[in-house]
Symmetry: C3
Subunit: 305 residues, 3 copies
């Protein structure tokens, strides 16, 4: 279904598409030597067009394409690019599509990736557009929950931190509404989930709001921690107070049940104590590593192998 299609929003995907991506990612992980040897994407080119820097996401896509035996051309930073000079995104895309087989785009403006896909005969993958979506991050989040807890249905997922500004969290909550899960939202009132997100999913999801992590931590299967952005706070004391009350330390890990996991989209700053990294609950580096099989799978399915 996804062959030769663009991926702009997680809503573009049928449940079957998501399952196919995850199954192929499992296969790739289990047969990496065979994939590396056969170079299924040999002489195909992936273009990365990053109108705002995101080294992590760019390198993850580039490594995924290279693991498949393909090549990469890269605009890592529009500030040093001639593409900035008055040219429309439509024109840039129509040129870059003639150089490549698939285009990964990151742009500060919401809707830019969708616009790009309208002008491209080659598939576009949205790698984040402003406050819009970043669908491969959501796929990686779902894949991590599935693989590290044995499934997604019937899980109790607690999302803590900044629920207001976090694009990653909004996309994840929308995607989780496809599954039978319980969601606990834990945030200070000033960083609560916006109504327009809540209203979109309240009928489909078993979702509740808490101020205090202690109310839900013992029943949690997946603790999804998000970055609270210091730059949002005029009063920095406010930030430090807040961070203090939501920070995950060994104390919180000790309250979690057997087999439960901790996730974070990274980068983290102060939200998780480094001591937590060495517990078996900590899965945020595994989550980042899952970017490779999930993106390899997605590229393979879109380009066909």
């Amino acid at each position: 279904m996804l062959k030769n299609k663009s991926l702009i929003s997680i809503a573009d995907l049928e449940d079957d598409d998501i399952n196919a991506i995850f199954e192929k990612a499992d296969y790739i992980s289990g047969h990496m030597d065979e994939v590396l040897r056969t170079s299924p994407m040999k002489s195909k080119i992936l273009a990365t067009l990053f109108y705002e820097p995101s080294t992590r996401t760019r390198l993850s896509f580039e490594a995924s394409m290279e693991r498949l035996g393909g090549s990469v051309i890269s605009m890592a930073d529009s500030k040093t690019s001639s593409f900035a000079k008055g040219e429309t995104l439509a024109d840039t895309i129509r040129i870059v599509e003639s150089y490549s087989d698939i285009i990964v785009i990151r742009h500060p403006l919401e809707g830019a990736s969708l616009l790009a896909s309208k002008f491209s005969s080659k598939p576009i993958i949205n790698a984040g557009d402003g406050s819009g979506e970043h669908p491969t991050q959501t796929l990686i989040d779902l894949y991590t929950i599935r693989n590290e807890t044995g499934g997604i249905d019937d899980r109790e997922i607690t999302i803590v931190g900044d629920l207001k500004y976090g694009r990653t969290v909004h996309s994840l909550i929308l995607a989780l509404s496809r599954y039978n899960v319980k969601i606990n939202l834990v945030s200070p009132p000033s960083l609560a989930l916006p109504n327009y997100v809540y209203n979109g999913i309240k009928d489909k999801l078993n979702i509740e709001t808490y101020n205090n992590l202690d109310d839900v931590i013992s029943g949690t299967d997946v603790l999804y921690v998000t970055r609270i952005q210091k730059e949002r706070f005029v009063d920095k004391n406010e930030y430090y107070k807040l961070i203090g009350s939501y920070k995950i330390t060994l104390n919180e890990v000790n309250k979690m049940k057997n087999g439960s996991i901790i996730m974070h989209p990274l980068p983290r700053v102060d939200e998780i104590d480094p001591a937590v990294d060495y517990t078996k609950n900590a899965k945020y580096f595994r989550q980042a590593a899952n970017g490779i099989p999930v993106r390899m799978s997605l590229i393979s399915i879109i380009l066909g192998d």
Copy 2:
């Protein structure tokens, strides 16, 4: 003849060289699957040294090398490069030639590419040096005229816009003096072709000057539109008045004859109405796409396959 040679100026090429490049580009376009499968440039390295940014040109060269199965090393921006710190270009080239098989250089100073070629035992391709030449752009222009109108000889080619500052236009006019063509130059007097260019080709070319596009549009086979750079005008009203009188819209397209084409070296800003993109005359995106087979051909011939 071109094997292991540098390409600094279009004047470096014999007519036979140009024909050989075009014939190999045709072959590559027609046998792309075979080329991709056989990787004729496997384990060869192309270095891009861009002392001023030109994302389009850089990505086009890099994609061309990767389509041939080769690899790329890249200095995309000298501002973040240690190569800026007082080292001579000669020294930089003598180092980079030991890392690579062919070097593509873009530099703000005229003559820089020629200088580089004097110090390199590896072939240099000039990808633009100041107000000097950009010979692969000229090859792509000629190739597009040849392929989209069935030949170059006997064509009536109208060049409109900024004939004074446009490096691309000067190179193209010089190259066209090899063929039996009629050239119409259409520009406001303030942006007319400089005398030093005109005097160099006036005896070899059937060339005439007009102020008004309407005088020549109906007989035109190739309408070559160039960017008028807003930053050249102290009085911005002057710019908008000018742009208005030379802008290509559906109105102009309707006056053009059957089989005629519109070209532009891109990026365009205000010179061509986006509605024109959907006419069959519009060949500027095809022209950009031709960068791949022409550059693949050139690299193949220079490096030998």
Copy 3:
């Protein structure tokens, strides 16, 4: 011994490791066609993480990996990278190790590469960390002395210029203490070798200090010239006086004995007259070119082939 190990300091290497690297580098140089054809590092990925720009070093590592048939992902400049935003180096490394097989890191802070190696399950190569080490540069220096003069033992090596600030020189002197060599240090008193370096090797090395190059030039086998950094001098006249008295011209070359060589880690600015480039003593471009076989050898040995 080096397989799967990090290389942070030249002191990490046993004498046998150094010999093995040099022997494999010889083999690679002598069988380059075979290496290029067999692609021993096919589908392996080298990541370059450059927290300060060093185009020469980065391109040399990238070309080395590509000559081995491997691929590259690259953060060329941390200023345009999201990795700058408050994330610890430990976290960045734990993410990048999941994208790659080997990581080359350059960082402005001494000790950064060692720290990175503590958090990485993949091998780290230190490509310079502040005033710390740059071990592959030292390997290339030793390899050049060995190959261009037929060995390292029994050589008289004169190091001239800035002995105070030059990281490259400190590492080289430490490494030379493994061999039976005579070292002459020639510098103005203000740029003499720091005591902490001198004291570390004075018992192991036959080392003497001179103010005047003429005292030692006729007995020298290897003249190692270093860059005197203009920015170190408040009084620029002081700089020009100094540079004048230490500059290598044909006059100095004529005093050198048969088979002696001149080296420089490059970039050079005013220290060596360009006329010297054409003498058979000049080996500094060869030295830069040796970066490829030495780094190819090192990567091959670490990753195993």
